[in-house]
Amino acid sequence: MFDAILVTLKLATLTVLLLLIVGTPLAWWLSRTHSWFKAPIEALTALPLVLPPTVLGFYLLLVMGESGPLGQLWQTIFSHPLSFTFTGLVVASCLYSLPFVVQPLQAAFEQLDRNEIQAAWTLGASHLRTFTTIILPQARRGFLTAIVLGFAHTLGEFGVVLMVGGSIPGETKVMSIAIYEYVETLQFGEAHQLSMILLGFSFLVLWMIYTVNRGKQIGRWA
């Protein structure tokens, strides 16, 4: 049981970190661009919201499997397969949780006052300093929402994980799969414990988001 909790936490943490690195520039671009590409990219990003996880998992398995293009490339470079490994699980999770990180960030960036950013430039601030001192503090609610939602959504993954990662104890067996297996083998006590952890965590996460976003206050941590 603890193996499953550890794998899940590791997976969720890594997924959120990677998604912040990839999702921040993507969300920034989506919030600023008027390009023709914006709508199709937004649609692609949002696909995991509406697609059944098994569909996404099925295609990811085709792409990442031993005969899939990404799987073959991975095998050539690293000499081990991508599917049914923890790394493969991280890649799949990133795709599956992408909208939960990108969309809150995009919304936060769209609400930023462009003049404040430009005022910082006229005061001599570099783009990096502008990001850390103006954009990041003002979009902090968006970042917090993105982190929490991305983390929580990864915790609850089932379909994609099962298709791409299978159920290798200590490697790809996450909490949701462990619960499924406990139920299948009629170990309701263990299933209950893991389920309560997920339920409690999910509730706390949503409570926190609603509290943070409740109202606009004046000051640094508004």
């Binding site: 006052d113 003049n115 404040e116 430009q118 005022a119 910082a120 430039w121 006229t122 005061l123 001599g124 601030a125 570099s126 001192t133 103006i134 503090p137 003002q138 004046i218 000051g219 640094r220 508004a222």
Partner: protein, 378 residues
């Protein structure tokens, strides 16, 4: 040469800007123009927040942008101070943090203290922008822009975000601050009062073109076309149907010139405070008084000329005035009359000749200063 040379074009789907002007780097330059005239775009070009589609901008010989040589100096390197229309204060920072943002950490505490003293912000230093009034925000924005000792201060419609009642106080504060900073300033506005009160030089922008630029007094008293004159508060425009060697005329009557006016002029213009209302037979331009009303300490009298053109006179409230329905005549003092074309091209070196089929068109077109070139022979 101490000047801001702007030769820039911006082309967008629905807007075109084409400015070719050299601004002096002293005092306050006000760019006056209606909404959509391109004055904000011009300011953003100068700040480095937009790139011209084509052209060159240089400051005191230093090239800020040059599309041919692919030079573009980012705003961080231009040493400008900018006060945005909504002040753009950083909402998550206190007043003191806002003011010190542009300074290096080492000099921040001391310089911010001095600025807070100079701008009378003692009691507000630890407040956030959302807790300030419009006037206080403007002071913070100005302090933040000036603390870096910029070589040019840019102000984007500095009074549009405040009530009319506050505006005059803020103008006075801004004037004092700009004078104390000894930094050349360029402000854009659509309020004529800003120009009267603050400016040393005026540029008039309409439809993406700088139609006129010069010393405040010169531009205010000698607009170069009807569009400029309207923006500068001239109210009376008598349509000219023709020009002979010694007079201009229209349905309203005629006005004698001492020598040929070599211009395809369309309008005889005079300010409301300069046009005279005379007894009925005193001049050949007849008018009927339509109405009169009080406007603060002045009285506005609206008259109709023989061709139906409405004109207005403004005079001190206590002066005698003709009553509604009375017939009178119009006096046009030589020193106050301007003969104007409809529009000029916006290239300040070559004034255009707008075609008017009812008029004699000449090859060269000049801005006519009626004071120098016309005399009334009535």
């Amino acid at each position: 040469m101490s000047a801001l040379m702007i030769h820039a074009q911006v082309q967008r789907k629905d807007f075109e800007l084409d400015v070719d002007v050299s601004l002096p780097l002293q005092g306050v330059t006000a760019i006056l123009g209606p909404s959509g005239s391109g004055k904000s775009t011009l300011l953003r070009l100068l700040a480095g927040l937009e790139c011209p589609t084509q052209g060159e901008i240089s400051f005191n010989g230093q090239v800020w942008s040059d599309t041919k040589r692919r030079i573009f100096m980012p705003p961080q390197q231009r040493r400008i101070g900018m006060v945005f229309q909504d002040y753009a204060l950083f909402q998550h920072m206190t007043v003191a943090e806002n003011i010190g943002y542009g300074l290096a950490r080492a000099e921040r505490t001391q310089q911010v203290g001095l600025a807070i003293e100079r701008f009378h912000l003692h009691s507000l230093a630890q407040r956030y922008p959302a807790q300030l009034s419009g006037g206080q925000r403007q002071r913070v924005a100005l302090a933040r822009a000036l603390i870096t000792k910029p070589s040019l201060l840019l102000l984007d419609e500095p009074f549009s975000a405040v009530d009319a009642a506050l505006r005059q106080n803020l103008r006075r504060e801004l004037k004092n601050s700009m004078a104390a900073a000894e930094c050349p300033s360029l402000l854009i506005t659509h309020y004529l009062e800003d120009v009267y009160y603050l400016a040393d030089y005026i540029g008039v922008m309409i439809n993406g073109r700088m139609l006129q630029f010069g010393l405040k007094h010169d531009v205010l008293s000698h607009p170069n076309c009807k569009a400029t004159a309207e923006l500068l508060g001239w109210q009376n425009f008598l349509p000219i149907r023709g020009i002979t060697h010694d007079r201009v005329y229209g349905g309203w009557g005629e006005y004698s010139l001492a020598k040929e006016v070599d211009i395809s002029s369309a309008w005889l213009s005079i300010r409301a405070e300069h046009i005279q209302l005379l007894p009925a037979l005193a001049s050949t331009i007849k008018a009927e008084v339509l109405e009169q009303y009080e406007l603060g300490q002045t009285r506005v009298i609206i008259c109709r000329l023989e061709d139906g053109t409405a004109i207005q006179r403004q005079q001190p409230l206590l002066d005698n005035y003709p009553r509604q329905g009375e017939m009178c005549s119009i006096g046009l003092p030589d020193t106050a009359v301007a003969i104007l074309p409809d529009r000029v091209s916006g290239n300040l070196r070559h004034v255009a000749t707008p075609a008017q089929d009812s008029m004699r068109i000449s090859n060269t077109s000049k801005i006519i200063n009626i004071k120098d070139k016309l005399t009334r022979t009535r």
